[in-house]
């Protein structure tokens, strides 16, 4: 069936380095994508979103890239900080269907 998945379940980076978290999706009709950050004991928190009519969107220290040709989504975090340590989820939606989440990637930032 259709699914949203992640290439890397865990990622460890040095403080100050850039982080890249990847996500593959299989529903070519998906038109809205979101990255969420979940810290321990908390609910998922919105980071950045992108619609299918775009291929790149930038926020504060974060960039989302969408490659519809290969159905790939990535989240880039610049100058990663200890506070960025969390589980990151990509999510996708097609039209009015439910928001479907990927399996999550745990990002650990080493001081």
């Amino acid at each position: 069936g259709e699914s949203v998945g992640l290439h890397l379940p865990t990622l460890s980076v040095q403080e100050g380095d850039n982080s890249i978290i990847n996500c593959a999706y299989s529903n070519s009709a998906s038109d809205y994508f979101i990255w969420y950050k979940q810290e321990s004991g908390k609910g998922p928190q919105f980071i950045i979103d992108i619609r299918s009519n775009m291929d790149k969107r930038q926020g504060q220290r974060v960039t989302v890239l969408l490659n519809k040709t290969v159905k790939h989504l990535s989240l880039q975090i610049a100058a990663t900080q200890p506070g960025d340590s969390a589980v990151y989820f990509c999510a996708e939606r097609h039209g009015n269907n439910d928001m479907r989440f990927g399996a999550g990637t745990r990002l650990t930032v080493k001081p």
């Binding site: 004991g41 609910g43 939606r93 439910d98 928001m99 399996a103 999550g104």
Partner: protein
Amino acid sequence: DTAVSQTPKYLVTQMGNDKSIKCEQNLGHDTMYWYKQDSKKFLKIMFSYNNKELIINETVPNRFSPKSPDKAHLNLHINSLELGDSAVYFCASSQGWDEKLFFGSGTQLSVL
């Protein structure tokens, strides 16, 4: 002020009991959701609801039922709790179906 709040934060109960989790949002959103997060952190949609439509994930047992007394609330009722119901349950809301979700802080349900 917390945008999406759910209570209780922790819920420990015996098998066979009936329990409820409450959710309230003060964002003025018209759509609310319940998600279940398992021990592997996988988030799975259970219900999507606005004042016109309830969408139920077909894999959710009918022991689970959402109740919405008004637009700002979507409570989750669970009958005859089972061990496999143990998980973290998240309430969320959005302005319309096609917008980002705002999540509550979760309810850790433990069924003994």
